[in-house]
Assembly symmetry: C6
Homo-oligomer: 267 residues x 6
């Protein structure tokens, strides 16, 4: 009786939807490569919607262990009781399991993916002494940001070669403007202004900047504008602040903001 | 029937109150950047008061784990019983959760914030196999001191770009004088003297000084004066002592104290 | 009554099947050396089929402990109950135990293999205070990729010298073409095209490339073609994407793909 | 009915008693800085006596965790039962809590002090889900030796700036002589001889010496003399031995001992 | 009623049997020094047989703890029950305890040996609060390979000086030939061929080779020959493969094999 | 009714017995400094005998924790039950507690000694929430070898300055000869020969030698001689073997042995 929710808002840039669906149909795992805030999570949400599969997302981190993915025994009434982890639930239910920023996880969590990611499609659960065959519909998707991987934190080649890769960049200006209007509820003019600022920042040599302005920070600036802040105030708080702690770079970004937001209420 | 307590004493310096409230209304997370002892904690207390939300503060540290934030199972009468952590309590109750010095925490504690900090506003609790939607009114605020972040300890870009930034510095002399009178219960003349000393120390090249004199140490010096110590004794114990262990620098600070506190009882 | 499943598809390249079976008959352990994705796992599956022994595979990783291999006590109804690990099950049942990427495991997991790998063929289980004699038919097989072992992660000499080594490379072009046709369900022409591309990439100096294109990624590309993607799209997603994150190298691979897939639908 | 014990023997050197009591009355935390064996512990004992508060001392070390300070659950009769740590006991009882060599503790133990050390005077106990307000009379005192802090082990600025500092050195010769007579039960002449030796050693460039002779080692030498050893034997065992392992430096110290103890029974 | 099994096959090279037995009779501990695969384990088995003592062997590794040697509490039916480790069993039963590759163990495991290895012959079990006197007949034997000890992993001097040392090398050619005939069940001619190859490899400067060919790998090659492989195939798989991963060195070894196995079936 | 056992065999070299007993009577802790195998353990056994106190010895190591010294809770019948560690037993019973090679222990184990080692003579047991006063007769003795302390592993100055130091070297030739006759049950001539060899080795520049020949290894050589080995065989196994793994140094030692044992049966 539950009504299917509307498709998450996602505007395709290239052939990413075809590649995703072809790989999914062939039981191939998928790795999404791209910078932070460019829409990878939203893309997976849209794909899960189109393919009509539940989506289980895991934000990976340094201390994520195999047990966090696969499950563990908990004590209930003097009995130990097994509780499935998110990966096991996805394997049993035929869901799409999305491991966000997978390289943050410890190596053991990536290797546990191997028998799932190749022709075996199996999840061995050593603690239970069983091996699960993935239910039809199960899909494995991981993401990572090639921009800031260190040598220590990288996807192993034997993991990478088990996956089909889809590259993500930032959307084109007109697509990004559409996204801003839709997400921040601001008018096209303001959205275009923010997109031009974002583009200018992305053109900078990244000296001093840790990463360029993502679509996400442009949306946040838009939201502050929608809340009544001036465009300059909004851009300083939502764009310049997150991008740098350096006072010289901050000054430079403030000047760019003044140039690209000329009609803003002076402040 | 409980009467609302008075507003915590906070004097705004710029547009920080507007930016905070706009971001809060838009469900955007907030990062406060600034040196130790400049009033970030007090500011959040005042904002929580104005927005009429409970405030839950967590002092982050090296060994703070996800479980410390989210909760854990404890054994009671042979049963394991789940006990919510402070972040989960804030998510359930629609409180403002303030993570002080968030970069001190282990990486996993910052990544657990991601689904809460973006449009999803969700807290997955893997141990319970559930995902909580944040109650209306929930807000996430973190702080850090850009002055002494190392490469190893820094907020990840994917976390930063999920947040609106507010920069903090020390208050202007007249605001700081007002704060000292209010907090240390000393007269304006003594307060002005301490503020001038603080300003002089902040103008020093920081060679030998670990960090400059914060508003907090000026208040402490004021408190010692209110307790009957001479201004020089108070400044040495509450300002010079915490700032350095180096004997040459200590001597230099002592001379500055003598210059700026000329009318102090000789000692 | 269970019918023996068909032999896993494996085409021999040299005398690897004879060496494996001779070593197995002499109770000698075996180490398979070779790059990722060249067919080591499939080879062991075929050998276990020919020798009519069950196969127990363990994907090794950084946090794999002796207990993960040998077994541990779990709490059930207030009693601790011993649960065999995969190695112990293999020892009791006379199965072939295959430790994939064994150098990833912690040193203790490799040393526990010593009494099993030499003339003793015993598994001491300290936690139970017993020593198991391996059942007839037990065989120990490990694999590793000599290409990316660091000094820190390497098989100890005392472990290596307990094993017979079989070297693996990629199959010859005609064998690889046969594999692609069989596994990806594409025609011989397309398969030959992919094999020629793979060969060309393997001839490159590996500057920029992390590892060369394995048979596995060629199969994945074939699968995407079978799903309706153009050969170029398929090769970019399944071959170039997994091999590099570098934009210059990516461009170079894209040009190679264009050269080797001239008759592909332009895109 | 319990009679208050006598005041611990402590002879003030400067205004340290006034500063301590003023800070205590203002609810300010206190950091004692000074070399090992100069009387910091005894000073805190005397202050607690004068202020009529119980004293709870914790010797900090590398593995001291927050739980060691705050408390933990222990299992009793199948129930977990909370047991307060020393800091929590001090907070509940309004005692003075003295953390000796606080920089030895792990960072988390110092950060847990923050809400206690500033205007909040609160101890959040996350495991219980409660926050304790410090009882009236609670005071926080920490000590450290600036002489041998490494970069890795240092009090964080945000901790230091929450505290009033009191510097300690060794007592003046006449005070130290009085202390030796009182503590070691030797006559003034012997005490003066030991003080002169201690002073001479403190004047040495510290090449080869790890730290200078503290009041504590002079007392120990006095005790051995009181027990019948010759002054030279006593000084070698109690002063030279603890100060160095180097044979050249040992010889130098032995010669100084011979010079400063001329009337000692030859040995 | 149990019949004593036959003596393990061991051919002495020098006075190692006399030294072992003299040290054993004097309750002195013994350290066996020598390369991997030269027969140390077999020697201890033969000595235990001659002295008519049970032998308990422990393969040491990085994660071997004192508890693994001494014992631990396990939970049974709500009670913790002590389970002796192998060292404790040997101490109680007067067995010979052989710690193979002892330097692999953590330092605590070597220090726990001290009171056992000197005149005290005691094993303190702190967890039980008892100290066991070793039963008559108890003997402690450890082995290590001086060739690949790093600075980090070495036997402490205070441990070494509690032991009598016996040096092991590879057997002389005629002894080694006898061993091969006996262990691999091949004829003398084939055995002599393998011994000559082994000797040639041992004469090589070890550039590229990790360690030289042990008696153990020669036996393995002999076993493959007995199974029907050609001598060259056997030597490549059992000798060259375990010794190197380097392709140049592999080629060099292959040429040596061709030279020393001229009458092998060409392949 | 138990008869006091005979005094452990110890021959004094200097005033070490007087210093030990004077410090003990004054409740001062004692640190024994000296090389491995020079008789420190035996000395403490003799002192405990003379002072008629029980002796509790703890061999320190890398993983020794405070809990190992102080005690821990163990689960018995569903109840946690406290079990005293050796230090707590000594404190309660007024025994002498000897921590052998104390610098091997983790820093926390040395800091727990502070309140015991100074005028407080107290052992705080945080887990029990109690503080024990040491029973009369309690004494604390630690030992370490200054020869091989690294910067990382050293006794903290604040620990050292709480202790009286006694230096140990090897005994004089005639004392050492007496010890050998007594301990190894060999005649004076053989003992003198071994002592002369030991002295010669101690005169060597230590290039290549890890440490010099201790009294302990001379005794072991004597024991092998008593068992019927030739003096040369005994010296090679018990002296040269433990001192070096280097083949050049081994050859040099073998030549020295031949020179100093000229009348040995040739071998």
């Amino acid at each position: 009786m539950s009504v299917k929710p509307p498709r998450p808002y996602y505007v395709p840039v290239g052939n990413e939807e075809q590649v995703f669906k072809a790989a999914y149909r062939q039981n191939l795992s998928i790795v999404l490569k791209g910078p932070t805030g460019c829409g990878k999570t939203r893309f997976v949400e849209a794909m899960a919607h189109d393919l009509d599969r539940p989506l289980i997302t895991v934000a990976c981190h340094d201390d994520l262990t195999t047990a966090d993915l696969v499950g563990r025994f908990l004590l209930h009434g003097g009995e130990t009781e097994w509780v499935d982890g998110p990966l096991t639930r996805a394997v049993r239910d035929g869901a799409i399991c999305y491991l966000d920023e997978v390289v943050e996880a410890r190596q053991d969590t990536t290797v546990v993916l191997h028998p799932l990611a190749d022709h075996r499609r199996q999840l061995p659960i050593e603690r239970l002494g069983i091996t699960l065959d993935a239910a039809p519909g199960f899909g494995l998707v991981v993401s990572y940001n090639p921009g800031y991987q260190s040598v220590l934190k990288d996807l192993k080649d034997s993991t990478r070669q088990r996956m089909v890769a889809i590259d993500f960049g930032f959307p084109t200006p007109d697509v990004e403007e559409k996204i801003l209007v839709n997400e921040a509820r601001i008018d096209h003019e303001r959205a275009a202004e923010l997109v031009r600022l974002g583009q200018a920042i992305r053109r900078l040599e990244t000296g001093g900047l840790r990463e360029v302005a993502s679509t996400r920070v442009l949306i946040a600036a838009g939201q502050l504008i929608a809340e009544g802040l001036s465009a300059r105030e909004a851009a300083r708080a939502a764009i310049a602040g997150p991008l740098t702690d350096d006072s010289t770079v901050t000054r430079g970004l403030a000047e760019m903001i003044d140039v690209y937001m000329p009609d803003s209420t002076a402040d």
